[in-house]
Amino acid sequence: METLKLIVAGIILTIAFCVLGWQVVVSYRAWFSAKRRAGELLRAVLTPEQYCQLKRRRYIDIPSPRDQERTYRVPRDPGLVRVIEKGRETASLCLQPLEWVPYADIVVMHKLMIEADEETYLQKANRLAPLCS
């Protein structure tokens, strides 16, 4: 009887590990696929100059559509967006999506929001003192 219980417990544990392992594999594949698609979208949305700048300097400069002397410096990696006015950093902005998205999508999000609706972008972002003053 004891042997039978051990065998059943072993079978249940094996099935549980298999299901867990499968879930890990599926999640990893979904994460990897999302990251790849985000990279493709980023490349499609940025201009060739911006894409080169992002690769070389790890940030992109997005000119303000309303103020010719203002530029937003969006980092490729997690971090604050720097506001540069007349060549001088005047503020840092923090804005993030409520749900997890690949970081390439966050760069696209900043670009689209700045270019399509800068006013809302500035209203939603948390404004902080410049990182380097």
Binding site: P97, L112, E115, K124
Partner: protein, 48 residues
């Protein structure tokens, strides 16, 4: 009869939609436009 519309579904979730076309400035879309080749939805955002 009511049809489920992905555009309305996402905009009701406070996501914003943008028209992105090569050589044209990015434009925010309030209503679905079937003529637009590419629409990119921006997720809900919050100041960090």
């Amino acid at each position: 009869m009511h049809f489920w519309c992905p555009f309305s579904h996402h905009t009701h979730q406070a996501q914003t939609s943008n028209r992105v076309e090569a050589g044209k400035p990015v434009e925010r879309l309030e209503q679905f436009d079937p003529q637009v080749a590419q629409i990119i939805m921006v997720p809900r955002v919050v100041g960090g």
